[in-house]
Amino acid sequence: MKIYGGGKIFVGLIIFIGLATSPFLFNIGKSSIVRDTKAAEIMQSMGLQCVEKKAFMLPNHMRLLDKWRDSVVRKGNRLYKASDGKEYEMSLQNTCLNCHSEKNETCNACHSNMARKHTCNGCHNYMAVNPYCWDCHIKPKETKS
């Protein structure tokens, strides 16, 4: 089989594939989000823990918040019994933001901007999601990082 102008076509294809995959090739082995597994253990030992485990919260926090919203607004149930048996008030503004805030003193005591890194924006900016929670709910001051 003979391809007319085959040489040009294949060279072009190789260049194209090279260009198209270059962002992935450059970033092989680098991850901009550092998943520090030790941090979770240390925080737990200090008594700092989220309502559910981190492995659950990372992919499911939006579903949890959705359920909280329905429960509080529509049913008037405001207490959340976590899977470890602890009870929390279901409130974005008054429960979540107590820790997930730039003003978290426990984190800021040792790390200059630890708290900021772990607030909503830290991840949402990276993932390019813009939830509009803050149109109504009042967040503590947080600068775009």
Binding site: N60, S71, R78, L79, H137, I138
Partner: protein
């Protein structure tokens, strides 16, 4: 490849069942993730089947009382003040007798009543017109306690509820409410609203959940009485049983739950149950 009609239908049928069954199983598994945890009402919650309020107009003696009551409400709920009636957002406000109870005024009535500002708020009707017209079920009547609630997350700002409400209890956010609030006065424990949603009084459901009376009642020095209309032994029921009261526009059949005591002089002693 050749296939007869019978074989084709068999394969098609099996793949349909596999497809539907597969999604059902996957969906069922995902649901379990959050359902496992449980929710419950706050332990301090005031419980009532049908919240209502009695307003004793004789006990509201000065403009200051009215101002204190409205400000108490508007401050804790971050209700903006734009100082113009077009953009006004109000949860509790005042109006003359003629405008509050149209058709019941007459030329010989006492001036004291005719010119008295009446305290108005959402009536939390038994048959709320706003709930019937809401296309997204953003406003709804809570089954447990009868509060006509708003889910701001669902409101699309169509304003049908504003047209339907005969009491003018609903306000639209024509402007970003945060521009009408002083930053130092914002209550950080309560959200604001966003531009383009309708809002109104919620009978302080967030305070009821903590075992507190509504903010207006607390600030009124006993002029406003809040309670469960379903409980014959409650303070409000005993007051309603002993004093003559009127409601706003009862002829419309929405069954409002705010009662006005006019000329009650003093019910200071809540009558005992016989």
């Amino acid at each position: 490849m050749s296939m007869n009609r019978r074989d084709f239908l068999k394969i098609a049928g099996i793949s349909t069942i596999a497809g539907i069954g597969g999604t059902a199983i996957v969906g069922g598994l995902q649901k379990g993730v959050i359902e496992a945890a449980q929710t419950a009402p706050d332990t301090d919650t005031l419980t009532g089947k049908k919240w209502g309020m009695a307003i004793d107009m004789d006990k509201i003696k000065s403009e200051e009382t009215l101002k204190r009551v409205t400000e108490a409400c508007h401050r804790i709920h971050n209700v903006p003040d734009f100082s113009n009636t077009k953009d006004e957002v109000k949860w509790i406000w005042t109006e003359t007798f003629e405008h509050s109870f149209p058709g019941q005024e007459h030329q010989f009535m006492p001036d004291a009543i005719k010119h008295k500002p009446f305290l108005l708020l959402c009536n939390h009707c038994d048959k709320p017109a706003c709930v019937r017209v809401c296309p997204t079920k953003a406003t709804f009547k809570r089954k447990d306690d009868g509060i006509v609630m708003q889910d701001m997350h669902r409101c699309i700002g169509c304003r049908f509820c504003m047209a339907a409400c005969p009491f003018g209890a609903r306000s639209f956010n024509y402007r970003d409410p945060r521009t009408g609030l002083k930053p130092e006065e914002i209550n950080l424990d309560y959200p604001t609203r966003t531009k383009g949603v309708v809002e109104k009084c919620t009978f302080c459901r967030e305070r009821l959940a903590k075992g507190l009376q509504p903010a207006c009642v607390e600030a009124s020095n006993g002029a406003l009485v809040f309670g469960d209309l379903n409980d014959p032994t409650s303070e409000i029921r005993r007051i309603l049983a002993s004093k003559y009261t009127i409601r706003r526009k009862p002829e419309l059949g929405t069954e409002p739950n705010i009662y006005y005591i006019i000329g009650g002089s003093d019910y200071a002693v809540v009558p005992e149950i016989k």
